[in-house]
Amino acid sequence: MTDRPLTRNIDMSRAPFDIGQYRAAGGYGSVEKMLKTMAPGDVLDLVKNSGLKGRGGAGFPTGLKWSFVPMGDNAPKTKYLVVNADEMEPGTFKDRLLMEGDPHLLLEGMMIAAYTIQANTAYIFLRGEYLRAEKLLQNAIAEAHNKGLLGKNIQGSGFDLEIILHTSAGRYICGEETALLNALEGKRANPRAKPPFPQVSGLWGKPTIVNNVETLCNLPGIVNYGIEWFKGLGLGADAGTKLCGVSGRVKNPGCWELPLGTPIRELLEDKAGGMCDGYALRAFLPGGGSTDFLLPQHLDLTLDYDVIGKAGSRLATGTMIVLDDRTCPVGMVGNLMKFFSHESCGWCTPCRDGLPWIDEIFQRFEKGGGLESDMQVLTDHLEYLGPGRTFCALAPGAMAPLGSALRHFRDDFHDHIHGGGCPWQR
């Protein structure tokens, strides 16, 4: 038993475990147990009852997601598991740690997911810039193959699985699961209309599950130690642990595995060491660039999906970006808007036209030339680009930091508009 199931093997000062070291530490034990003693339906029930929620950002219950895949004799023979390893959310650096620190853990988790939905082919969709992760995963796949943990009739179970590593070439929208499937099919990565959902008609029209790296890395522990153990890891309503990161002007930026339900203050002050000398906390994005700003008054909230949700933001990727009192909040949001504008795939009009418009307004705020009427235009965009108006979550995600910034930093916007540009640059 462990209370750090995701990172217990990780020590970034050395190379990650090879398959021998990994197995000596108990690795692949969950796969052996599963293949010998569990039917796919048993694993599904286990994961459903564990309370595991997706760690990619949306927090959707993993077992529920899997349960929509057609099973049984009448189900399509070809199904796919796809790993979303296209980590590109601004300020997010957690899946990199898992893939570089313990690549076999991801493969073990993939085997559990693939067996549960009875998929015989699994693709890892890795972002192209993660060159070290690419090398380590390719090597780990080869090792697992050589030891008979991948391929035909794994350990005499009759279950076949091939894992294929696909490397992308840099585009944030590929993290959206239907856009990812288009990219994997060799097309432009535009999102698809839902329904049909990928669980029924995904990659090449076959039932497909797309799961985030960290989500899958939770599975071996759940199979090994069970539901009570997993639930017991969390301190509040949510089960399990979460990789939590902090970046910005803090003394000790980094990424740690913490129980869900840990107070935000503990992450920021104990782990990240608090603010750098001479800097004070002004606000923070709790889970990457697509989340609403929270304020110092929220530090005693806990890292729980519902708790952060009730405060008006999202836990999302769990990687916090800190805004200090000597950095321009308007400039920070402008940086995010430039990112989202650049990464819009251009498929639907509100996102394609709205984000560049917002970006242009922020550029004028910066240089001088902002208008009071721009504030209304920005406010209008919160609705035009909000949930339900676009094909996917990219534009609504972009509106999260924008909308909360308009609420919290009104005076800063005013200073930019009426002071002839960014006061921090003057």
Binding site: G91, F93, E129, Y130, A183, G186, W204, S247, R249, I321
Partner: protein, 177 residues
């Protein structure tokens, strides 16, 4: 007249090299549909040729049995497929939010001044191209950039100077051999 003729002549498909074909063929074994390897094939060509010219793009499209326009739609979609020539070293400089907070704009200015190029430009000697890249996922060690397959972290102006000075020395040493 020749000049006019050559500048208006349409590009034609380049025959892929045996090595390129061999690597693309391997990728094809991993997917049920050969058009799915479009991006991989473009990356393979770019690895060997440095960038993806019209002629290369048409060669790949022909090899995969798809239209060049469809493949160009894929090529131009992705940030890291280069449809124009780039320098021998491409500097992918992270300009996303954590790096911005940690002062990446000043580091970028320093690199631009040192090399005499802005984003999207290549040095006259063909050595370096500077490009912005969305979040490189190393936010606890910002500012960061990716060059030669290596992530350079916690960048400062001094570190940039040391890095380029070291590279100039290495280049001299390898040329004098």
């Amino acid at each position: 007249m020749n000049i006019i003729a050559s500048s208006t002549s349409r590009p034609t498909a380049r025959a892929l090299t045996a090595e390129e074909k061999h690597e693309i063929d391997h990728e094809m074994t991993l997917y049920p549909d050969k058009r799915a390897v479009g991006l991989e094939a473009l990356k393979i060509v770019q690895k060997h040729q440095g960038w993806v010219s019209d002629e290369s793009l048409m060669g790949v499209a022909e090899y995969l049995g798809m239209s060049a326009h469809e493949l160009d739609g894929v090529a131009t979609f992705f940030n890291l497929i280069f449809r124009r020539p780039v320098g021998r070293n491409v500097i992918l400089f992270c300009d996303s939010v954590s790096c911005w907070i940690m002062g990446c704009d000043r580091i970028k200015e320093h690199i631009s001044n040192r090399l005499g190029i802005d984003y999207g430009q290549t040095t006259a000697d063909g050595e370096y191209t500077l490009l912005p890249v969305p979040c490189l996922g190393d936010c606890d060690r910002a500012p960061v950039m990716l060059m030669d397959g290596e992530q350079h972290r916690n960048l400062t102006a001094e570190k940039i100077d040391q890095l380029f000075a070291q590279r100039a020395l290495n280049k001299e040493a390898s040329e004098s051999k």
